[in-house]
Assembly symmetry: C2
Homo-oligomer: 456 residues x 2
Amino acid sequence: MSTLDEDQTLLPPRDLALMVDLYELAMAQAYWKTDMGERATFSLFFRNMPDHRNIVLACGQQNFCRLITSLCFTSEQLKKLESFGMFEQKFLDWLADFRFSGDIWALPEGTPVFPQEPLLEVQAPVAEAQILESLAMNYVHLETVIASKALRLVQVSGGKPVVDFGMRRMHGIDAAYRGVRAYRIAGISGTSNVQAGKDFALSVQGTMAHSFVQAHDDEMDAFKTYARLYPDTILLVDTYDTVAAVKKIIAWLKANPDISIGAIRLDSGDMAELATECRRLFDEAEYTKIKVLASSGLDEHSIQELVRNNVPIDGFGVGTAIGSAKDSPNVELAYKLTEYAGKPRMKNSPGKQSWPAAKQVFRQSDSDGNYTGDILAARDESQQGEALLVQTLRDGELVDGAIRPLADICEYSQSAVAKLPPELRAIDRDADYPVTISDHLKAIQKKTLEAIKGTD
Amino acid sequence: MSTLDEDQTLLPPRDLALMVDLYELAMAQAYWKTDMGERATFSLFFRNMPDHRNIVLACGQQNFCRLITSLCFTSEQLKKLESFGMFEQKFLDWLADFRFSGDIWALPEGTPVFPQEPLLEVQAPVAEAQILESLAMNYVHLETVIASKALRLVQVSGGKPVVDFGMRRMHGIDAAYRGVRAYRIAGISGTSNVQAGKDFALSVQGTMAHSFVQAHDDEMDAFKTYARLYPDTILLVDTYDTVAAVKKIIAWLKANPDISIGAIRLDSGDMAELATECRRLFDEAEYTKIKVLASSGLDEHSIQELVRNNVPIDGFGVGTAIGSAKDSPNVELAYKLTEYAGKPRMKNSPGKQSWPAAKQVFRQSDSDGNYTGDILAARDESQQGEALLVQTLRDGELVDGAIRPLADICEYSQSAVAKLPPELRAIDRDADYPVTISDHLKAIQKKTLEAIKGTD
């Protein structure tokens, strides 16, 4: 491979089987070589809430499940593996035939999820389940991180629309694309991203950039062109002097009663002061329907402040803050073995103990249908409450009904969030949701721990 | 489009022309409609250093340039645009014929870049240049953010290898893939990511997961299988009890002198204490060549501490900290019009003033070749120092020599970083690199500002 060839790769491959950490393939070969072919359960979960989050929305599981139904190693990829010199030809033949044959249980997408609760569980011959590790984590991580951040913006907006302007701040093309799916699940109202908005049926919105104003010798020429071309458009008024621009717009509208604009957008300066003044000017001129929109470095804290102070802003455009989930860009997902060959397994490293066995999450409700807490239990237990994990793959095939329309996912997620204790919806203080461990699961852990100690 | 169809989209398209913010197309149509076809210059830069960064490495420009040489709108994408009802058929025909016909000037990839300095400049008929905005920002942002963070890890590692374990924490597949290219430019020694490591010629490395140990009834069985299958492998020793595991490994090695292992990996507990104890045990047993590697939540601060205290650790695996550039996941890139129809342009919004005109960055060196500061100037000025921006596209075609082998980029970047003032390489305090504005550029700004005020 020449150096130039290596550098030809502008986008990731669409065949994702080698988007894998090397150790997964090394372990898979070791299992294959030593005939360790028993079924394993791996659980995808996080140990602690991410910083600044009271709610994590589990997203991405459905597309991950769909993705792995067609996951396979191409001949080009197998050649890459051969070049490592560490894989036997017969193991590469095994990979050439690889199709995931196992089961997956997953939380419905959009489910609020809390520490120790599985977002999904993979049950398959151990080598197969191991190979999915990094892809499962990477794939679910993106949408979960983005949806969990976007939810905070939605929660403080007082019902006013929050629109995604984040493509430019997101980490690459996949994030900018699938992130929009996550935004929709969280309740974001629109996006500037044409392709993703169309594909995920989220309203695509746009105004103008400063460059459009600057390219015209007179700011008003830019506004006039736009207003004539796009009825009810949004004009960006802060390129030179916000209040002066609004006054000129009003004068022009008065002189041209056939023209109608939808809104102005403020993108710099003191938002509260400027929005109040622009609103006053429009109202005075009897343009009460022209909206005032705000952008420029907004996050959930500044939006909460504006909404609490009843600043007359009708909608918010947010870029940097949601695009990378800036204040907490990771959920520390772990993909851990919890069962092998019918025996529960666990890790006993300091601070990283895990709960063994295949699991189920039972969500409790009060008589009004509001959630009061979860029970983390072994999968085969009976407990009160709604069993959240549902089977999505059986013997490598999607289970009927496992793939839900995005509109249903959004509706479910937004209704589930509304049933959570209200203190979880605060953005500026930590609040915990009660997750209790079932006695049976505790007993399994105790027994598993004794078995580990017995081998020392 | 049925809801299910909308949800079929597991990966972003490979045709990226609609990875665009709607306003870019709206503005493009407005330019087209009003016959504003003059050439514009747009500059991609940031106004302020990102938090916790003294150095930003400009990366991603080369692949962006290559990408847009083939950028075009597919008929499927044009149908999506038609559905908006805001684009005229003749404009859609113009898009159908769209090929970027302009020029691009860019910093060589891996160049340390500072506030106000262009990472790249696009010069083209204004509609064409406008359409590239979001793609340019998204594309360059990812690699620039990741390389700038990774550089910090390399700087504190005292020459010891730092290996990327971050795929699981990165934002989607594109980030996990192209991020590895950025890691290599910054000087990261290896990656766990098979596909990206192979494609970008970065050493692919891997050990074992806790699951492999847990799947075996006896930890030593897992170690024995691995050591026999993979000569000089790395054993993960913290699943149950680190020191006990190392003692058992030593006893087994003593009894099996034909076996050789390369290293152990510590992934939990007190790294300094455990590494010191494991090193002592190996040295006492005369296994001085067995290395001690560390992972588990490491970042540049913990690595700096371990290195400064001479803790006997031979290499570091880092995941979360570099995968999302956790402490500063954004560079606030702006793509601003600086010239249209031969006239300099600028924005005058509070706190967001920009420097007009097409530019050049002149980097000054002392007699030892170390960098002493930059002059930001108009492109047509003569100034002392090395002119950093080079033309990479002319009339839509790549300029000969514009695409450099990745190995050359890495070498250039690492040598450029070494020439910076040493205080910039500190990770725990801010230090500024001197960037001065040329008198000529100041004069252009003054004149442009007067022209703006004249229109009020």
